[in-house]
Assembly symmetry: C2
Homo-oligomer: 316 residues x 2
């Protein structure tokens, strides 16, 4: 039978619909072989730097040392590792693209330790950079993977959107956190640690399928220590490798599904950083739009078991 | 430039992204020709009544009079106009399917006045029926049209989901309404009437593209009179024909796009019935999931103008 579950600390609900439950393999789609655009057609690929606005931060090795440079008038930095530049079609001023690698085909699930650690450093640097601007109240940091998850270009990239307001989702959580005796996320870490919904756990992080999963194979990644954002001291320790290992499990189990991941964070606040990974395997339809209650055909306990059992190589 | 817009009376926001603005024709997809399943493969088609659970309400003419009947043990009512039966894979107990017509190919946008008026009567009857059950706090009434909008079967149908709780979306609105001096929806009727976002207007209803449209061609349909639900006296007057005319404009302008429509209502309350029609033409991606702020590339004023100008035949 179906079960209505409540969010850990918000008035949000999902329905775990066991009558409709599926096996993990039911979510595996034959993905089309990835189209390989010729390098000249991808404006994020090396050699095409002049097809984007001037880069605002380019991570590049000079004499074995990682440096941060900028494009200058008609002179783009070449031979980069990570390249940050304004979106040509910004949804808001400051909307930034982070091209994660020069390799058109290599996504974070397949990054080396060094590559993924560097990317997290870039996330932290760019968040700090944008938060310095007067009027920026929040920096939304997110990744869309695959066309069904909203990625219109296939070159590996993350997006960053500075916002002049604290978004409603975060505001709602901050209000609930203020009213609580202690941090609800710290409670969640305690509750999910070593449990049936845990997927990856190490000294610093826990990855689990939330009790109130709204969609199949939804995962949350929480720092065990109470820190409010990726810019907090110590946050980067094993952040990247844990995220990479999570993505690799997902890719392996479900044949490279489309997904979004999002950083929920709020500098200098009582908020507890959390990263949510949501594979795009279901459709929010009329019922969800009418109620904000989500029907999920994959019990998170089953999703976690399948993901836990995947022995994705921990190092490439 | 982009513009952040706030919801009429809630702390919700959208971004109207003019830098990414498109023309209506950019949203027109070549739809695949509709697959025509052989009658024996569609469990909602006449002749296949034994493939569904026993019908709980069957609308059928007997001697030119519309009657409501029920399936009995191994004896299904045949030659029906509208057929209501339990979903074989219920997300919640009571989850009901309303097969809107015996015609596998005929959707509400193409219904005659009589057909669409009858369907609204069924919506009202079934809502009333389910609300009588102890423990039912809300009846979600919604339609998914097209695979991309979550319709897994193509036979024209609506769904109805009785719920043991008032969904968060409605609760949030009720709280805001309680705090307001007068009904915010009555204010909206006044504000949008005769304006640049109006699409259809008659004595009883207004259809418009909301100021804070979260997705391209989103439409709201409000009764001009303050009534709380489809079961209220007088509600059915021109409800069906206005909804049908709206759907026909949408179908004509955008080549039969996938969409959802949802009834937002709350019997015996201060709530103001509203129906929302949301074509599924964009993807809620990482940014939306991170913030609950929606990027919309189609300004509602432009959407309304295009829809207004469509001279869809008002009667079939």
């Amino acid at each position: 039978m179906s079960e209505i579950r409540k969010h850990y600390f918000l008035e949000k609900y999902c329905i775990i619909a066991r009558a409709r439950a599926k096996r993990p393999t039911d979510f595996v789609k034959e993905r089309e072989p990835k189209p390989k655009p010729k390098p000249e057609t991808c404006s994020f690929c090396p050699g095409n730097e002049d097809l984007t606005p001037a880069a605002t931060a380019v991570y590049k090795y000079e004499s074995n040392k990682l440096t941060i440079q900028k494009d200058e008038d008609n002179k783009q930095v070449k031979n980069w590792e990570v390249r940050c530049f304004p979106n040509r079609y910004p949804a808001l001023p400051g909307h930034e693209i982070i091209a994660e690698t020069p390799d058109h085909e290599k996504h974070p699930s397949d990054f080396t330790d060094d590559e993924i650690t560097r990317l997290m450093q870039v996330y932290s640097d760019r968040t700090t950079h944008h938060l310095k601007n007067t009027g920026t109240e929040y920096v939304s940091l997110f990744r869309n993977h695959g066309r069904d998850a909203g990625a219109s270009l296939s070159h590996p990239h993350t997006q960053l959107m500075p916002m002049p307001l604290v978004p409603p989702l975060i505001m709602q959580e901050l209000t609930a956190i203020k009213e609580a005796d202690r941090c609800p996320y710290c409670d969640i870490v305690e509750q999910e640690s070593g449990g049936e919904r845990a997927i990856i756990e190490n000294d610093h992080w826990i990855v689990f399928a939330p009790h109130c999963s709204r969609s199949p194979f939804e995962m949350w990644m929480l720092p065990k220590k109470h820190i409010s954002s990726i810019t907090a001291p110590g946050c980067l320790t094993s952040l990247g490798t844990t995220l990479r290992d999570t993505l690799l499990k997902l890719k392996t189990l479900l044949n490279n599904p489309p997904y979004n991941y999002m950083f929920f964070q709020m500098d200098n606040s009582s908020y507890h950083l959390n990263i949510r990974i949501e594979p795009k395997l279901s459709i929010a339809a009329g019922f969800e739009k009418n109620t904000d209650v989500y029907i999920n055909t994959m019990p998170p306990e089953d999703a976690a078991r399948s993901l836990r059992e995947i022995n994705a190589p921990l190092k490439i």
